[in-house]
């Protein structure tokens, strides 16, 4: 990587600069180093999965991309141009949209108001600008049905929708507002199997639409189903950076399950009499998978 050309390649070149490129990015909160030496690139039409345990630095990483936090080391380039976002709005202007775990929706507000929140459509009303609520309702309905979401009533508070539906509304909103990069923060974390499937379908749809997707998750199965590129974070550092063809689901699962740490823990527990020898064997089987993969859902 040392020989990489540093002059930015012109944007719009299909094989040119990646949408987002992070080089040696680090972030310190006072004395605490949350991230260190992160190199991630996000390309159009690709799903980059960022995996990691709680506290591995996933949230910090996306907050830097989304403009909520600033990185304290390294460089972040968008279309080859170095950037430093002061606010989420600046990231949005560059086409980087984030769908947060809490979805950034306001539960008591109507679906259509949530859809356009922060980017409302307006029309002249005498000397004033008023909300163009009819156009917004119509557009929201169209955009949602494009994503395959049919809501009978867009006037219902978004809090009355199911978790999967809310997630899909949030994704549809980001796509509609011209997102080129879609950052999804644990979109399947709080969902059941069926709803997760629905959300993963929309994630794949966003890729087909040519977006660069950053998919944050701690579930290797969900990641492997849709991902093109996998990054695993551990204690603020990258412990894996691989393309789909370079890695199997078993590897990913083992890495996410905690790998060596988990085995050490099992042995410790065995010594102190908490875990039986069978449990340790079982864990070793997961870590060195030669038969079937074990579920690791949290």
């Amino acid at each position: 990587m040392t020989e990489t050309v540093t002059t930015p390649t012109p944007a719009g070149d299909a094989t040119g600069a990646p949408l987002i490129e992070m080089t040696d990015v680090g972030k310190a909160y006072g004395a605490v180093r949350a991230l260190e030496g992160i190199n991630v690139r996000v390309d159009a039409g690709e799903i980059t999965c960022v995996l990691g345990d709680n506290g591995a630095g996933k949230s910090t990483l996306i907050k830097i991309m989304a403009g909520l936090h600033q990185h304290s080391e390294g460089t972040v380039r968008v279309d080859g141009e170095e950037v430093r976002f002061d606010s989420p709005r600046q990231a949005l202007e560059k086409g980087i949209a984030t769908v947060y775990q809490d979805l950034a929706v306001v539960g008591l507000m109507e679906v259509w108001r949530n859809f356009f929140l922060g980017s409302e459509k307006r029309k002249r009303f005498g000397p004033f600008n008023a909300l163009d609520s009819n156009a917004m309702r119509k557009t929201a309905k169209e955009e949602l049905s494009k994503m395959g979401i049919e809501l009978a009533d867009l006037n219902q508070p978004i809090g009355t929708l199911s978790g999967g539906q809310r997630q899909c509304v949030a994704i549809a909103r980001a796509v509609y507002f011209g997102a080129r990069v879609l950052i999804l923060d644990e979109p399947t974390a709080a969902l059941g199997v069926k709803q997760s499937g629905v959300v993963l379908k929309y994630v794949a749809k966003a890729r087909e639409a040519g977006l660069g997707v950053v998919f944050i998750t701690h579930n290797p199965h969900h990641a492997y189903m849709v991902g093109d590129h996998f990054v695993v974070l551990k204690l603020g550092r990258m412990s894996l950076d691989a393309h789909r063809e370079e890695i199997t689901l078993e590897d990913l699962t083992a890495l996410m399950a905690g790998g060596d740490e988990l085995e050490t823990l099992a042995h410790e527990l065995q010594r102190s009499g908490v875990a039986s020898a069978d449990v340790v064997k079982e864990i070793e089987a997961v870590e060195h998978p030669h038969d079937r993969p074990q579920g690791t859902q949290a």
């Binding site: 989304a66 909520l68 606010s87 989420p88 709005r89 949005l92 984030t98 947060y100 809490d102 979805l103 950034a104 929706v105 306001v106 539960g107 008591l108 507000m109 108001r113 356009f116 929140l117 922060g118 980017s119 409302e120 307006r122 009303f125 004033f128 600008n129 008023a130 909300l131 609520s133 049919e150 809501l151 009978a152 009533d153 219902q156 508070p157 809090g159 009355t160 539906q165």
Partner: protein, 356 residues
């Protein structure tokens, strides 16, 4: 009747149509519904027990009394929908009125100058409240509680310092008095035999303006959003701080407006007044359906809340009872409103419209 049976309409097929909400559901989903029902009940009650309450003149008095609470309640309701409180709203009214009166009198200026300086001061108080809340992250309850005590002290202290008494000198002979009085406190005028006070007109105007702002403009959308979920609002690019500071300044400007009314209605201002009124405004907003946690409510509801208090305050007098009971009623009403709103909202927001 037999022939009409044949023309009975076939059962309506509405499988393709979104299921229509019943009128009851639509009504129950309105934030104002609880207050509206209560207002009707209270009106009927006083109509029955207090014969003087039945006259048009009495209704005019009730409306005027309601407007003196209602004007401020508009700003306080918007602020509450935006997720914040202002406990200094009651004394800020007096601060504005005192400033306008004493500045003009002490410096022998036209009253207009005093009015404009007072407006600037009221906006500054609102800005300071909002800025402190945003800057420190301390709950607005505490920040404005501090402002409340400081303003109360300033009102009394400065007035005593300048006039030697606790009230301002009468300003009715000064330049600009007549015009300002026409705007803020013109004498009651009659429409078709019904006596109307100017504050009632202003009150309805502010309610309409706030409703339009809230429902039909981008800022209104943002007010709901910052009150409902400030973090989400910020994440989608809503300028949360500016919206909230703006709402505090809105309360400030209405405090100025009502302060001007008090000054020009009585020509003098008592510096110790206004204390406790902040609760009236908040209660009117809550009774009108505003959620204490923000993100929900309506200026129309707050207006109905103010009307309830106007009716009761006057109704108790018309019924010949001890006015002390008004305070008891105030508390009881608040408690009932909070409980009713809680259940109504749970009922309304838990009704899932089926999706296809």
């Amino acid at each position: 009747m037999s022939q009409t049976l044949e023309t009975a309409p076939p059962p309506v097929e509405r499988t393709a149509e979104p299921p229509r909400k019943s009128l009851l559901t639509i009504l129950l989903e309105r934030p104002e519904i609880g207050a509206f029902v209560a207002a009707v009940a209270i009106f009927v009650f006083f109509f029955a027990v207090a014969p003087p309450f039945r006259s048009l003149a009495a209704f005019s008095t009730v409306l005027y009394d309601s407007s003196t609470i209602g004007i401020m309640a508009v700003g306080v309701a918007l602020l509450m929908i935006g997720g914040e409180f202002d406990l200094s709203a009651g004394v800020a009214v007096i601060t504005a009125a005192l400033t306008a009166a004493m500045l003009s009198y002490e410096l022998s200026l036209n009253l207009w100058v005093g009015a404009i300086v007072a407006l600037a001061l009221a906006l500054t108080i609102g800005f300071a409240n909002g800025w402190l809340v945003m800057k420190t992250g301390i709950p607005s309850f505490l920040v404005t509680l501090s402002t409340f005590f400081m303003l109360q002290g300033i009102n009394l202290g400065v007035t005593k310092l300048l006039t030697g008494t606790v009230a301002t000198t009468n300003v009715s002979n000064m330049d600009g008095f007549d015009t300002l009085r026409t705007i803020f406190a013109s004498s009651p005028f009659s429409i078709g035999g019904f006596t109307l006070r100017i504050t009632v007109v202003w009150w309805l105007f502010f309610v309409a303006l706030a409703t339009w702002l809230l429902i039909r403009t981008r800022v209104g959308n943002w007010i709901f959003a910052v009150g409902g979920n400030a973090a989400s609002a910020r994440a989608v690019g809503v300028p949360v701080k500016a919206v909230k500071i703006g709402l505090f300044m809105g309360v400030g400007s209405l405090a100025w407006f009502y302060g001007m009314h008090r000054l020009y209605a009585f020509s003098t201002v008592q510096s110790g007044e206004g204390v406790g009124n902040e609760f009236l405004y908040i209660i009117a907003a809550v009774v009108g359906g505003c959620l204490l946690t923000g993100g929900y409510g309506s200026p129309v509801g707050a207006a109905i809340g103010a009307f309830i208090f106007g009716m009761t305050r006057q109704g108790i007098v018309y019924a010949g009872w001890d006015p002390s009971w008004y305070r008891f009623f105030l508390g009881a009403m608040l408690l009932i409103a909070v409980v009713v709103n809680l259940y109504v909202r749970q009922y309304a927001s838990s009704r899932k419209v089926p999706t296809k």
